[in-house]
């Protein structure tokens, strides 16, 4: 009873405020999305229209086809995109292949040194690539491996975050099922592949999204190890514009759109998975 009268009492003024609040939220959302709208709109325009401060979303002269054709077929953007894709896939595959078994062993098997290993994993969680980049760079330089796909992927072949995450996940898997499977004559590998791994698919999917997005968007490491055009990643290619590499602004923003599009489109298709995958990394600290 009292809650009904309470809500009635506050209903009238609150609905006005609520409406204003909703309007502000959508206004804020417009601000968040505006740079994307501006970018796509500019990518369809000729240069002089891009820097016309009197912005209109619909181009007065449509140059979209030329801009995108130039970027994709006369400039090496397809190669850049391919490089990014290859590097992200390579990193992710090795990360999964190394982290999943290690995490299972740490979660479910007893062996000497397991607590030292896990402690090291936790400590390594706080170490970003920016700290280890010098020795890794020097080692790659001395072995003549700079400017190779291997150099672009190597520092990320192990994800201590993935080990940590999967270990937490595997620990939740009931021991009784594993023991029953052992009694039934399942080998340990069969247990991992047929019982535990399928149950970890949500965690693996979320981590995969995180890893892919993080390395697609990474500028720091490619900037250090990549020197040639044919190894350049999509994100690194944006550095070319820092010194007015291309004075055709319509084309510039067509290339920015091409670089941003894969992650944004993937996000729109798998919203839940993206939000979960990217925010869980906060654990990384």
């Amino acid at each position: 009873m009292s809650s009904i009268s309470l809500s009635l009492r506050s209903y009238a003024p609150r609905s006005v405020w609520s409406l204003i609040g909703t309007l502000f939220l959508f206004l804020g959302a417009w601000v968040m999305v505006f740079p994307f709208i501006w970018m796509v709109s500019s990518s369809l325009k000729p240069t002089d229209e891009v820097y016309d401060a009197n912005f209109s979303i619909i181009p007065r002269t449509f140059k979209g086809f030329e801009n995108y054709y130039e970027v994709l077929f006369n400039q090496p953007y397809l190669i850049y995109l391919m490089n990014s894709f290859l590097v992200c896939c390579g990193i992710l595959i090795v990360q999964l292949l190394t982290a999943v078994p290690a995490a299972y062993a740490l979660a479910k098997l007893k062996f000497r040194g397991s607590s030292i290993l896990f402690g090291t994993v936790i400590a390594a969680l706080t170490i970003p690539i920016n700290v280890t980049s010098i020795p890794i760079y020097v080692a790659l330089a001395k072995t003549g491996l700079l400017d190779t796909y291997l150099a672009m992927m190597l520092p990320f072949f192990i994800s201590v975050f993935a080990i940590f995450l999967f270990r937490q996940f595997f620990r939740g898997f009931p021991d009784s099922i594993i023991d029953a499977a052992r009694v039934d004559g399942f080998s340990e590998m069969e247990i991992i592949l047929r019982l535990v791994l399928p149950s970890a698919v949500p965690a693996i999917a979320a981590f995969s999204v995180f890893s892919f997005v993080a390395h697609w968007n990474d500028l720091y490491w490619p900037l250090i190890v990549v020197t040639s055009q044919d190894k350049m990643t999509a994100t690194l290619s944006m550095m070319q514009y820092q010194s007015d590499f291309d004075t055709d602004y319509g084309r510039t923003f067509a290339s920015a759109t091409v670089v941003t599009a894969p992650m944004v489109i993937a996000f729109l298709f798998a919203r839940r998975l993206f939000i979960r995958g990217i925010t869980m990394t906060g654990v990384k600290g």
Binding site: S18, G21, T22, L25, G28, A29, V31, M32, V33, P35, F36, M39, S42, Y51, D52, A53, N54, T98, P101, A102, A105, L109, K110, F111, R112, S114, L117, V121, A124, T126, P128, N130, V131, T132, I134, Y137, L154, P155, I158, V160, E188, M189, L219, Y220, L223, T235, M238, M239, Q242, Y249, F253, A256, V259, T260, M263, V264, L268, R271, F274, G285
Partner: protein
């Protein structure tokens, strides 16, 4: 007997499973960190093979180095602009969105969009929007009688502009974290507070939401602080530390010393300071989480 061999087989399997990861951790984390320590006590430079042990010289140099002081100050100014705003705005957004269940998913998507996008590419867009002559932002500011602002070209404004771009790119991330925290607060607490007379939204916030959100707030504060300290992409793309070093932040300076000037020894010392600061943040978080568990 068979139990014993089984156990031994299991241990052997465990070692096989952790072997690749262990080797990679050794090669990618342990060895490099030890090497960074070692290099930081030398004057090693990639351009010459000759180097010598200089003891703490690199660390002493830091204290006298104007560029170091400048980078620290720039980072702190940037962080003091970025941290409070990114915290408060995302908290407000989360509360407002939480109350509007019917719009929650669409708003979540719109605000989260910048988080997934490629910051290096979007930085170019921001540069165009912030252009002092033909940029859309100055055009709109002019329409209400403000500006024109020299967003990226003025020494006094550039860190503010960097903070603005970072804010845009991170709000959705913090907001989702806050939303998760808010969803976990049982509605019975609000009902109990309402019976106690705390019905006004401000009362509800300070009596229930804020105390219950403690761990989430701490988490957001720590991750944002680390993000703030890692500012790199927008600086590298938009200003390269300029104008006149006014946007040269800590990580960017470390990068310049190491990979532009090849002062590896000094850069190694700088990156260890960088690690120390991140470690401090992690420690704060760990201590807080522990205390929270005791409650």
């Amino acid at each position: 007997m068979s139990l014993g061999t089984k156990k031994r087989a299991q241990t052997r399997l465990a070692y096989m499973l952790v072997l690749p990861a262990t080797l990679l951790i050794l090669g990618i984390y342990i060895l490099p960190i030890l090497t960074v320590f070692g290099i930081s006590f030398t004057d090693y430079s990639l351009v010459s093979n000759y180097y010598e042990f200089v003891g703490l010289e690199n660390y002493r140099h830091m204290l006298a180095d104007e560029a170091f002081g400048n980078a620290i100050v720039n980072t702190l100014i940037y962080a003091s602009l970025f941290l409070p705003s990114s915290f408060i705005i995302s908290l407000f957004l989360a509360i407002a969105i939480q109350e509007r269940k019917q719009f929650r998913s669409i708003l979540e998507v719109l605000y989260f969009l910048p988080v997934t996008s490629t910051l290096a590419a979007m930085a170019l867009v921001w540069a165009a929007l912030m252009d002092s002559n033909q940029g859309v932002i100055n055009h709109w500011a002019g329409a209400v009688g403000l500006g024109p602002f020299n967003w990226l070209g003025s020494e006094t404004m550039v860190l503010f502009s960097m903070a603005l771009i970072s804010l845009w790119s991170v709000i959705g991330f913090n907001m989702v974290l806050f939303l998760a925290g808010l969803t976990a607060i049982p509605s019975s607490l609000y009902e109990a507070a309402a019976i106690d007379g705390a019905d006004h939204p401000v009362d509800r916030f300070f009596r229930v939401t804020w105390p219950m959100l403690g761990p989430t707030s701490m988490f957001v504060a720590v991750t944002s602080s680390i993000t703030a300290f890692k500012l790199f992409d927008t600086v590298a793309i938009l200003t390269q530390g300029g104008p006149n070093r006014s946007s040269e932040v800590f990580l960017y300076l470390t990068f310049l010393e190491g990979f532009e000037y090849f002062n590896m020894g000094y850069s190694a010392a700088l990156s260890l300071v960088f690690l120390g600061i991140i470690f401090l943040f992690a420690l704060v978080q760990a201590l807080f989480v522990d205390r929270n568990v005791q409650y």
